[in-house]
C-alpha cells in the first residue's frame, strides 16, 4: 500500500481493498518481534505491506475457509515496532492503544476494521491463499492472501484520527 493511497483515507471511510495482505496473529507477532530484536532477517519482507489479524479455518476444496478478523488489541504491544519496520497497514477488529494510534500517525500508516464475525462472507473476497511463513504455527502461520473488494472501514488514519473517538468512548 503506497503513501498516496494512505493519505487519501480518513477515519470512518468505507474502503474496498484489492491486492495482497499477510495474515499474522498472536504467535506470529511474538516470533517476528523476537527475530527483530535478534536482528534476524524476517521470512517475509513486510515493508509497505498490510497485515491482517486473522487465523482462517482450513480451506477444504475452497480457496480459503472462514476468514474474519481477530481482536486487534492483543497485537498492540507489537504494532509500533512493526510500523517502525515499514508495515503500512493493519486489518482487525476493535480498539487500539494510544501507543498504536501515535505510531500509525508517526509512520503514516492506516488501521482498518473488517466486518467482525463475518468470516464466511469475507472468504468470498479472497481469490488466492498460500503459506508465506511459520507453517509450524498451523492456524497462526503467516498466509499470503490475494483479496478483491475486501470491505473495510478506516479505523485510524495517517493523521491519527481514530474512529472510536467519535462514536464510542
Amino acid at each position: 500500500m503506497d503513501e498516496n493511497t494512505v493519505a487519501l483515507l480518513s477515519a470512518g471511510d468505507e474502503v474496498l481493498l484489492s491486492g495482497i495482505v499477510y495474515t499474522a496473529r498472536d504467535q506470529a507477532h511474538l516470533r517476528i518481534s523476537v527475530m527483530m530484536k535478534d536482528r534476524e532477517t524476517l521470512p517475509v519482507d513486510l515493508k509497505g505491506q498490510v497485515i491482517y489479524y486473522c487465523g482462517p479455518t482450513p480451506p477444504g476444496d475452497r480457496v480459503i475457509g472462514s476468514c474474519g478478523p481477530t481482536t486487534s488489541s492483543r497485537m498492540d504491544a507489537f504494532t509500533p515496532m512493526l510500523l517502525e519496520a515499514g508495515v503500512k497497514g493493519m486489518i482487525g477488529k476493535g480498539r487500539r492503544s494510544a501507543a498504536v494510534i501515535e505510531a500509525v500517525k508517526r509512520r503514516h500508516g492506516v488501521y482498518f476494521l473488517a466486518p467482525a464475525g463475518a468470516g464466511a462472507y469475507l472468504s468470498r473476497r479472497v481469490t488466492a491463499c498460500g503459506i508465506a511463513a511459520f507453517e509450524d504455527l498451523g492456524p497462526e502461520a503467516i498466509y499470503r492472501l490475494k483479496v478483491e473488494d475486501f470491505p473495510l472501514v478506516v479505523g485510524i488514519d495517517c493523521k491519527g484520527r481514530y474512529i472510536y473517538d467519535k462514536i464510542c468512548n
Partner: protein, 283 residues
C-alpha cells in the same frame, strides 16, 4: 427400574453432528434477533450495512457448509445424564473428544486448542473439550455443545458481590462488563449470566445460560425482570455493531440462578459475540 444401555459410538456420533451444525448453521433464535435488529436500524447507516453483511454471512455459511466464524472455538459440553443410563464400550469423555475431533477434521474447522497454556503447542484436534456433567432422573442423556470463540470469552468476568447487594449492583456489574468489552468482542452481544452457587459453579452456570433461546425469559419473574433491566441499560451504552453505534449493543440476556451461601452473591457474565453457536440432542 432397569438400566438403559447407551453405546459410546452413539455419543460420539451425536457430539460430532452437534459440533458441525452449531458451527455452520446459526441458531434460529439468534438469526431472528439479528433480523429484527437489522430491520430496526436506520436506513443508510454503516451499522445497517454491517448487520446486512452478518445476515448474508449466515446464509453463505449454511449454504456452503463453512464456519459462520473462523474462530470455531473451544468446545464446552454439558451432559445431563439420566441415572438409569449405563454407558457401554468405553469412557464417556473419550467419546465426546472423538466426536469433537471428527467434527473439526471433517468439517474443516480451525483447531484452536493448545495443550499447555504457556508452551502453546496446538493439540491439532481441537480437543480436549470441557465437559460438565449432572446426574438427573430418567434413562436418557441430554447432550449440549457450545463451541465458543475466545474473542468474547476473553471479555467475560466474575465478581463475588456482597449478599446485601440488590439487583442494581448486579445490573451495574453486567453493564460494566459490556462497557469494558466495547467494540472488541463482536457486538451485538448476548450475555450468559450465572447468579449464585460457588465461584466456579457460577461461571459454569453463566455458560450454560447461553444454551437457552434468547427469546425465552427466565421462568422466575424477578429474574426475568433482571434480564430485561440488564438488556435495557446495556443497550443505552450505544456501542452497536463493530462499535459503529446504532440501537443494538446487546441482543439478549439469559440468567441462570442457583442456591448460594449466606455470605455471598456470585455473579458471572459469560459474554458471547453475535454468532452464538450451540446445539442440543437427547440420546
Amino acid at each position: 427400574m432397569t438400566a438403559r444401555e447407551v453405546k459410546i459410538a452413539e455419543i460420539e456420533k451425536a457430539v460430532k453432528a452437534l459440533c458441525v451444525r452449531a458451527n455452520t448453521v446459526l441458531r434460529p433464535d439468534v438469526l431472528e434477533a439479528l433480523e429484527e435488529i437489522h430491520g430496526k436500524e436506520k436506513e443508510g447507516t454503516l451499522a445497517k450495512k454491517m448487520l446486512g453483511i452478518l445476515l448474508e454471512n449466515a446464509g453463505i455459511a449454511a449454504e456452503e457448509r463453512i464456519p459462520i466464524c473462523q474462530d470455531t472455538g473451544m468446545v464446552t459440553v454439558f451432559i445431563e445424564m439420566g441415572k438409569d443410563v449405563v454407558v457401554r464400550d468405553g469412557r464417556l469423555p473419550d467419546a465426546v473428544n472423538r466426536g469433537v475431533e471428527q467434527a473439526y477434521e471433517e468439517g474443516c474447522f480451525r483447531k484452536s486448542v493448545v495443550e499447555d497454556p504457556l508452551m502453546r503447542n496446538n493439540t491439532g484436534t481441537n480437543t480436549p473439550a470441557v465437559i460438565h456433567m449432572d446426574i438427573v432422573d430418567g434413562d436418557t442423556m441430554a447432550v449440549s455443545v457450545i463451541p465458543k470463540g475466545f474473542g468474547s470469552e476473553n471479555k467475560s468476568r466474575i465478581s463475588m458481590l456482597d449478599p446485601t447487594c440488590g439487583p442494581e449492583r448486579i445490573i451495574d456489574f453486567c453493564v460494566e462488563t459490556v462497557r469494558i468489552a466495547g467494540p472488541d468482542a463482536c457486538p451485538p452481544y448476548i450475555l450468559g449470566v450465572g447468579l449464585g452457587g460457588t465461584m466456579e459453579s457460577c461461571a459454569a452456570l453463566a455458560k450454560k445460560a447461553l444454551l437457552r433461546p434468547i427469546n425465552e425469559p427466565n421462568r422466575k419473574p424477578h429474574i426475568a425482570e433482571l434480564e430485561r433491566g440488564i438488556k435495557e441499560r446495556a443497550n443505552a451504552l450505544g456501542i452497536g455493531i463493530m462499535g459503529l453505534g446504532g440501537g443494538a449493543t446487546v441482543m439478549g440476556v439469559n440468567i441462570e440462578e442457583a442456591p448460594t451461601h449466606i455470605a455471598g452473591l456470585p455473579v458471572a457474565v459469560n459474554l458471547s459475540c453475535h454468532a452464538l453457536r450451540s446445539g442440543s440432542a437427547v440420546i
